[in-house]
Symmetry: C2
């Protein structure tokens, strides 16, 4: 794999990842782009204890552009996109409308506020000693971090599921490289690689792509996982995720796919109609800790899962020329944060918001108001269906 780091016209970083070790990546960004000023603020919700990012500058971001103005296609002649080259393998660049950006100095200059707002240690609720000074209810911190776009195909009409294994491996290598590089930034606590697929999910650029968020805090979901894993350790002396994987394998009613190094299963308390979690059999905290054998096997299993997702809602009357409508999905890598990684297990969570042909699962009052999920598909039935749609 060859990595070439370049800059876009407004100073943002763009990185090519090529299978071809001799790839020359010297195309220059010829657009007259002004640097964007990004001043997101992160606020602590005093009632829930979660960090929320307020990014008011993002309302003007690109929204469903026509295909001939796609910013993620390669540049062609005078059709200049975010990617200066005329073709690419995998390319990662900083989002022009980021929720989080590295420009802490600009934040300090603009607000006069220091970068000192402190976050309670992740996964340690209730253990802070009482202080004489009552804590402020309204805590803020600068929205430092980084948001990157991951383009994994130059083909506007392709999808991740259509990649070959070598290409999917290159994407995994890019995720791993970004995890290492972003995770080493001084303000970054957690690196989150993910893909949103489908307008139903809210995707506003049709060109297939993933994203990476480098958060300056441990995300609320990860804090909950750390809490549960710490409690399990305190109770049993063992690791929660290792016990969980062993339990799923011992009674494989929810197991969808097994490899030599990975296992995919529908979680016991799935929130979404079709949801699969893919774990390496050996617990590691992050993508950077995977072995070569684990990396080598991943593409085949992941591509198989994505292809099964696309077969879930077929009518049975499709032909190669008229495939079923693509299944909208979210694919999310969970990995350790800097503040609380000892008990975590790297894994990928893949789920769709479609519950049956033509119907979506919405997050209405019960879910969005109370975080109380209601799933209309039993996890065992979902696993059965995901085994049935194997090639």
């Amino acid at each position: 794999m060859r990595k070439t780091t370049t800059k876009l016209a407004d100073g943002r970083e763009l990185i090519y990842y090529d299978r071809d070790e001799s790839a020359q990546r010297d195309a220059r960004d010829r657009r007259p782009l002004e640097p964007t000023a990004s001043l997101a603020e992160i606020r602590r919700d005093p009632v829930l204890g979660d960090w929320v990012t307020v990014a008011a500058h993002r309302q003007a971001r690109t929204y469903h552009p026509p295909a001939d103005e796609c910013p993620l296609c390669p540049s062609q002649g005078e059709r200049l996109s975010e990617i200066p080259a005329a073709d690419y393998d995998v390319v990662v660049f900083e989002n022009r409308f980021p929720s989080l950006a590295a420009d802490a100095a600009a934040y300090v200059a603009a607000t006069g506020e220091p970068l000192s707002a402190e976050q309670p240690a992740a996964g340690q609720p209730g253990t802070d000693p009482p202080t004489a000074e009552p804590p402020a209810l309204h805590l803020t911190r600068p929205g430092v971090g980084r948001c990157e776009v991951v383009c994994f195909t130059a083909d506007h009409h392709a999808s991740f599921a259509a990649l070959d294994e070598a290409k999917a491996r290159l994407v995994m290598d890019a995720w791993t490289d970004r995890t290492a590089e972003l995770g080493a930034l001084p303000d970054v606590d957690q690196v989150f690689c993910f893909e949103n697929r489908g307008a139903e999910i809210g995707v506003t650029l049709a060109h297939p792509h993933g994203q990476i968020y480098a958060f300056p805090f441990t995300t609320p979901r990860t804090v909950k996982m750390i809490t549960q894993a710490n409690e399990h350790r305190a109770r049993t002396g063992r690791n929660l995720f290792e016990d969980l994987l062993a339990a799923e394998l011992a009674d494989p009613v929810r197991v969808v796919l097994t490899g030599e190094h990975w296992t995919a299963f529908v979680p016991f308390a799935a929130r979404w109609p079709y949801e699969v979690h893919l774990y390496p059999n050996r617990r590691v905290p992050a993508l950077t800790a995977l072995s070569e054998a684990e990396r080598a096997e991943f593409p085949r299993l992941y591509l198989e899962l994505l292809r099964r997702f696309d077969r879930l809602f077929g009518s049975g009357t499709e032909t190669p020329d008229q495939p079923p409508a693509p299944t909208p999905y979210i694919s999310a890598w969970h990995q350790a944060s800097r503040r609380g990684g000892a008990e975590l297990a790297l894994h990928l969570e893949l789920f769709t918001i479609r519950r049956t042909v033509g119907k979506l699962k919405f997050l209405a009052g019960v879910e969005s108001g109370m975080d109380a999920f209601v799933n209309d598909v039993s996890p065992e039935a979902a696993a059965q269906r995901l085994r049935e749609v194997a090639t």
Copy 2:
């Protein structure tokens, strides 16, 4: 207020609430309805610690019926709906496709499992003593509880915002009555009154209506609130919600509306583009604890907030005959649970998923994967806008 409790043909309860103390409610449900068997299961997510309801029987529920088959309009001639009467004021009935139902005996008979699965005490993470016996990873409990539908207008094309104050007060009295009655059921831990409005939220019945869920557990959102409130008490000796309301009133940059007994403000770390929380100035745990003066003032303030929400995304060119498209919203009452109510404060959370004209806020990878919300509208700007759209 006159309350008349009746039964539908399949045994479900239906309750009329009438302003007219002499209302006669003796219409009989003439439909040939079979009783539905409802066997939802509640499962504990071992990785997040949350309870998730698996309700596989709900896939067949009514989905966008044509207006002339609306199940929430009054029955007319041979057009028989869920409401046997030819007209109604406010009516509440058990959902025919409930996520949670009271039939615990049916659950035991069908599964052979006892009703003994135990829930850890809400808001007490990490305080359970280590046990010699490791806890099971996969905990289930029966989906006992209750799901009710609240019809607050017989007019298929109306909305809550179009009610008069007396009618809104009758709805509040119905919520209060349901909180008392459902909260007294032996298996119920928390009563949740809410309204989902708009197809964008996932509402599948166009007739305006609200819902009530009586949960057998404390919802994950409430558990988080209890944790934060308990920590605040431990640190400061004071109540979190009282301190919060005092802080918002002391610097009213996010205050939208104040009455003698209620205050509405945009929360400091709002997750949604337009979000307002409405608190009684005197902290009470639940609807049942409000005073007559507090009940009397609520309708005017709440109706005003709903009407302002409908004005948020107008183009300015609307006429009385062509009003702006209704704003989709979720309106959610937060009140104490039986297991952890001492520090909570009754309040209503009202928010829309619309972020600007024609654009919705979706919960994609960052939110649905990591619970890390990104809000594109600053809470202070949202409050300013909500003050501007006053009548």
